[in-house]
Symmetry: C2
Subunit: 185 residues, 2 copies
Amino acid sequence: MATGHTDPQRRERILAATLDLIADEGIARVSHRKIAARAGVPLGSMTYHFSGMDDLLREAFGRFTDHIVAVFDAYLSAPADPEQARAAVADLVHVLSEGSQRDLVLTQELYTLAARQPAYRELTQEWMRRSRVHLEKHFDPDTARQLDALIEGLTLHRALAQEPHGRTLTLEAIARITATGAPAR
Amino acid sequence: MATGHTDPQRRERILAATLDLIADEGIARVSHRKIAARAGVPLGSMTYHFSGMDDLLREAFGRFTDHIVAVFDAYLSAPADPEQARAAVADLVHVLSEGSQRDLVLTQELYTLAARQPAYRELTQEWMRRSRVHLEKHFDPDTARQLDALIEGLTLHRALAQEPHGRTLTLEAIARITATGAPAR
DNA sequence: ACCGTGAGTGTACGATCGTACGCTCCAAAG
DNA sequence: CTTTGGAGCGTACGATCGTACACTCACGGT
């Protein structure tokens, strides 16, 4: 018994392939077979490692939020004062809205799931909570909340707009929202 | 020939059933058969009225944007001055984020499609354009753009948040974004 | 050297899907 | 009344799907 025979990389490869496939084709077109082909694993591995499609999707989006939260952390933990924080937020908005189509698409797929199923809503709530913690290092809680929503809206509108707005407008919006919100320092 | 035999209500019922089904189960689970059952039409009507699934979805979301743009119009065309406009925007955010789950879910499904396919992006762009036209009646173009993004973010975060923020915070955010943007009056 | 065990796989089954297409049948033309 | 064309429908086909499950086989214990 206990043959050290297992391969933990299999699981990870399957999860990565799942996210890649969703980014390329959308949740509507995912299937165990396509994921297996992409990950280079036999079909039987799907039901062996995951109890079903729902289980697989939940875990895959868990990995995705880990990744996207890490991006937020990377941008929002560095700044040392409110002014640097504003610049970092602007960077974040522009990276998210014009960087890889992958993250943008996956974010929308996640929001769509979250709008309907509480299990996924918890993932987005954790994400929102984490980003607000960072923002509250430089702004009061109410301002942080408003700024968090603004980031969301600016990112989405920039990503979908025919002529995306420039960095100047992003910075102006951030400055306005945070104008009266960082008095204590 | 030219038997006035056609029934235009069939098409509409199919489109309405399509949106209902998407709101209930998500695009991933729609099928011609389920839509037909919901609309009370035979399966054959699906391929008769629409050239395929893609065609059907595109037209259905066209109807949806017509509806949601009408909601925007209803709220944003009434106000007579910037102060009333701010209140109307706050109303809009709260109606969209706590009203029918249906509109929220369909909006997210549409954004997900728009993030990947240009055909759907045109729908969201038209919607964004229309709402900005209304906002520009009371605020300068840059402010209108920022406010439009803020509406998006506030609505989504309020809809997904564990403890949605109150109207006071909504109004404060709107006031901040529009504070310096409505000088001409 | 032999077995037991459990990780990992190949395959097959029943369900469901999108779509094509031949058919019905009503209304207008003659 | 007979003809006829097109609107609309029922059905069947091939593809694809999720999942269950019997199986293989390398390894650790004896």
